[in-house]
Amino acid sequence: MDWTRREFVANMGALAIGAALPLGRALAQSASGANGRDRVLLCNEDSNTLSVIDPNTNTVAGTINLTSFDEDPRPPFRLVTGGVTPSHAGMIAKPLYHGAINIHGAAPAPDNKLLACTGRGTSNVYLIDLETMSVIGNTPNPQASNQTNAERITTGVLVGREPHEPTFSRNGKELWITVRGENRIAVLDTAAAIDESRGGASRAVRQYVDCINGPAQVWFSGDGTLAFVISQKASQLEVMDTHFGADGFSRPKRRMLIDIKTQDPFGFTPFQKTVPDGTELWLSHKLADAVSAWSVGAEPKALEAISLGKLARPNHVEFVENTRGKAVYASLARVDDGGPGGIAASHIAIIDRSAAPGSRKVVGTFFSHGREAHGLWTNPENSLLYIAHEQDELPNTPNAGQTACTAFDVSDPFKPQFIAQIPLGDLVVPSGKLRNKKSINLVYVRPGARSQTA
């Protein structure tokens, strides 16, 4: 396949699974498959917030504040001064700002009780208690008043320049973070990271592990004995032996480097994930407009590379497997004409994973009902799908100016049904409102239940 953007839209139109429901309808449609405590969290990179969505109502349940605005009661240092709210790009440059910068990556702990998210610009990682939906380590604000926030934001754990994606080890005792700007992986002791976030004496970083240039993400084999490292600078896949000991901690060592120029000649592979049964590893090659599948083992073998069409720019992959089929979804960054309601939107590509390795292909696409689709995650039953979007909705659309998350019923993985477009709204602080903006990672959590990292 080598299509232009418009050709892709035209050609895939026949396969496209269109909007089942009109845009802008009531958002509180019943969402079968959601548990009462389930939540969907989105990392908003420009507003430095986490949006929390209740999948039972498909509404925003709250916004977790990772900024430091309105800790200080003095007007120039609050979010809004004299009616003037800074632009998102400018807000982090306000004097005395010490909150997060560029909240980007996220992953849940194996028991879904803890979420790690990275601040690319702040060079750190924050931990979120998923049972209370609170930032671990925040402390009472010494300047607290009725004009300020009650809490002072933690610094979290500093790990190094440009951390990209966090991943918990399968036993949950470690948190591995690819430090993209330093060509190494920060391996954290999870318990110590909680203590350090709270200002304790612990030092969370157990060790730095040198790895391939520009590491984007680590993902572990199902048994936790292997770590796979992908890169956004090199056409390589690194495999490490983790050597977890009886104490539950790793002693990683490089096992092999795999040349993936065939699959990714540009050396830009930002995301990977293993399939539910752990037998395959899927990589998204953003600039190559493709995804590839690999066997999981001591020596991974390429199973196939699947083109997604010109300028597709895949971000994340997710697997939906239930009684009605086994599908791989790839979120595409490209924004296509002719979306629902005449509104340009991104596509999600559907690959049939039940076909034999080597013969799998894109069997359909559907509009994501948002612009520049990025993170996507399914519920434990694999019946619901949530999608994050980087770009705001355009002027003159139902949720103009808002970053939106969308929800789909994927009970039939090959016929996703649109449920809702959920505008993320604002974080309300005493001086005004900060609009949630630019979602990157998205995670569906059920606190206390096994997560995809288990």
Binding site: P75, T81, T85, H88, A89, A344, P395, N396, G401, K437
Partner: protein, 145 residues
Amino acid sequence: MGRWIKKLAFVCAMVALIACSQPDHFTMQHQPAAVSASRQGFAGEMEAGMQAMMKDMHAPGFTGNPDVDFLAMMIPHHQGAVEMARLALIYGKDSLTRRVAEEIIASQTAEIAAMKERLAILRRGEDPNPGNFPALHGTRGVAPQ
């Protein structure tokens, strides 16, 4: 030659005057709801957007308060930029130009909101020290002799 230049200048001025006095068939508040390519096409919609911007910028006139006038005229100027960027996203293909358009919409939408809020405050009266706190930036004064 000088006469021809004067005539040409006069004609240009008249054309500009006529353009500015066109009936109000389109304003920023009455944009078409379509968000994909319409029959008007890029040129038509761009022209309408720019005309609306010019009209809205001239509408407030000068009050004698430079802060108020600046904000009152800069708001429609930004709205015009947002509209132009919106059309670039609908019709344009170049990825880097689209990125510029995205950033214009993101930043100037926030700036429009900020200017509207500040304009409302200034129109109610002077507010040199917001919140009764000394201004940190953007001060203007006279250097001591």
